[in-house]
């Protein structure tokens, strides 16, 4: 798959010869430096950008545009500031109902919102507006909102990049917990090697000119993993060294 941006007669190849297969239920990290095409690839999968060469298929069906089947989480929580946490969570189901994509009725939605708020640790904050929540709470609300739309694939674009190290570690545990429960497929974009290893079943290393996936490295570590507990073990360091090598080559 490839993508070229044209602006004012100048062509910039953003992605070339990229191929990635993700099994259902997998968590794949996309790792690379800035400008390596990570976000472009994610947006093509989301259906926000068309691919110039090749195509994306999810569950056997080609991607033609954004769909609630492919949820997305961004660097910032992107909550709707004029809606309470509960209404943010219900935005997806309600929009889908407006588009007649599904028929969940209101009592069912209320129960679902309450359950999701509880699951992301925001019970009692359903009526809070986004600006009344801390950074970590906002990210958890964004999570709940993405899950409420019932995606089978979750695309995450450096979602914890702006958080402090402690909150970020909590969010990792939280993400893995939800992934375990819901068994959804996740593609996680990051520029942090340790984050990529802690989270991913596999790490797709991106970079180069023209940019693309250089190498896909398996992470044969037992879960739960954490950078601090398993960070010193030989296996963790071996994976880290392999990824470093792939990034440099």
């Amino acid at each position: 798959m490839g993508k070229t941006f044209r602006r004012g007669g100048r062509r910039t190849v953003a992605l070339a010869g990229t191929s990635l297969t993700v099994r259902a239920g997998d968590l794949v990290s996309l790792l690379g430096p800035s400008g390596c095409g990570k976000s472009t690839l994610l947006r093509i999968i989301a259906g926000a950008l068309p691919a110039d060469e090749g195509s994306v298929t999810v569950g056997g069906r080609p991607v033609t545009g954004p769909s609630p089947d492919r949820g997305m989480l961004f660097q910032t929580p992107m909550l709707f500031g004029w809606l309470t946490a509960r209404d943010n969570i219900l935005f997806g189901p309600r929009a889908q109902r407006a588009a007649r994509r599904h028929e969940r009725d209101d009592p069912e939605l209320d129960a679902e919102a309450a359950a999701l708020l509880d699951r992301v640790g925001l019970a009692g904050f359903g009526e809070a507006f986004p600006h009344e929540l801390s950074g970590g709470m906002q990210h958890r609300a964004a999570f709940a909102r993405a899950l409420a739309a019932r995606p089978s694939l979750l695309l995450m674009d450096e979602p914890f990049g702006a958080l402090d190290a402690i909150t970020r570690e909590r969010m990792h545990e939280f993400l893995l917990g939800l992934w375990d429960q819901h068994r959804i497929t996740i593609i996680f974009v990051t520029h942090d090697i340790e984050e990529a290893i802690v989270l991913g079943d596999r790490v797709a290393v991106m970079g180069g000119r023209p940019p693309g996936i250089r190498e896909i490295i398996d992470v044969p570590l037992d879960r739960p993993r954490a950078a601090d507990s398993s960070g010193d073990t030989e296996a963790f360091l071996t994976v880290k060294r392999r990824i470093r090598g792939a990034l440099r080559s």
């Binding site: 609630p68 004029w82 407006a98 600006h131 739309a149």
Partner: protein, 299 residues
């Protein structure tokens, strides 16, 4: 009164989104105190702020009264009590040189402002939305707006009298001319400022294109548009009073001019206070809408 330019106010509003350094409900500590306790604290803070604001106004009135009593020259500076008496007297009774009571003049000015402001806002928002949506419209309209924007609307008064006569229409059009560029620029800026990812986010949650435009993009731009309305409302009062000072036979501007001609300074002040009260009231309405539209300003 010098008003800040649209861009100044607007950049202040924009950066204002991240103005709050305190991390609201920090996880862990306040998470147990809960939302209700947090909001109670916020309300107490607001009450204290309003109290301080009222004190500021009281100090202004006290200073005015003190200086007026010391000067003892009601033509140069009538006291607060003299002004209040004049206001009460002429509120329901016409001034001899003028023909209608203060309340009727206030209503006349208010009607002109509301008609011109509503029409100007509608046109400005529609134009701004079209400019934000279409590159061709933007490139076509932008230079026109940029040429018109720095022109003081008052420069058009003689033209409007020639074209539209001396009735109500030229005054309403004058206000429109002042409101349209401000509303166009703020609408474009507010719609442009909605992050593309916010729209993508709505689409990945299952919202249709139409749903995303109406419920996300326009909704997210609403506070900015309301802020533009507050700015252009202040401009509308400047325009109408100036127009009434120059070419009118009714309205608060005309009343002030008449009172000045007869050295009835207390009535001049009464007219000014009437404008202030009307201006503040309309601004309070817009502020109320802004608070409804943007919960993060409720503090």
């Amino acid at each position: 009164m010098t008003l800040p330019t649209v861009d100044q106010v607007f950049s202040a509003e924009r950066t204002g989104q991240s103005r709050d350094p305190e991390p609201v409900l920090a996880a862990g500590r306040d998470e147990h105190a809960g939302l209700a306790a947090y909001r109670r604290g916020r309300r107490r803070e607001r009450t204290r702020r309003l109290g301080t604001g009222a004190l500021g106004l009281a100090i202004l009135a006290a200073t005015w009264q003190l200086v007026a009593v010391l000067l003892h020259d009601p033509v140069f500076l009538p006291s607060v009590s003299q002004t209040a008496a004049s206001f009460a007297h002429y509120f329901g009774r016409p001034y001899p040189a003028q023909g209608q009571p203060l309340w009727a003049d206030a209503l006349t000015s208010l009607r002109r402002v509301l008609i011109g402001f509503t029409a100007g806002t509608a046109i400005g928002v529609a134009l701004g939305a079209a400019m934000s949506a279409s590159r061709v419209v933007r490139h076509l309209t932008d230079p026109v707006i940029e040429v018109l924007r720095p022109l003081p609307p008052l420069a058009f008064i003689p033209l409007f009298i020639i074209w539209l006569g001396i009735g109500e229409l030229p005054k309403e059009v004058l206000i429109m001319i002042g409101v349209i560029p401000v509303m166009t620029v703020t609408t474009v800026a507010s719609l442009d400022a909605v992050p593309e990812d916010l729209r993508l986010c709505a689409r990945t949650l299952g919202a249709s294109r139409w749903h995303t435009m109406a419920r996300v993009q326009i909704r997210a731009a609403l506070p900015g548009i309301l802020t533009g309305m507050r700015i252009s409302m202040a401009g509308a009062w400047t325009s109408i009073v100036a127009a009434e000072l120059i070419a009118a036979s009714s309205g608060l501007g005309y009343l002030i001019m008449q009172a000045g001609d007869y050295l009835n300074t207390a009535l001049v002040f009464s007219g000014i206070i009437a404008i202030a009260v009307l201006g503040l009231t309309l601004d309070a309405c817009l502020r109320g809408l802004l608070l409804l539209a943007d919960p993060s300003r409720r503090r």
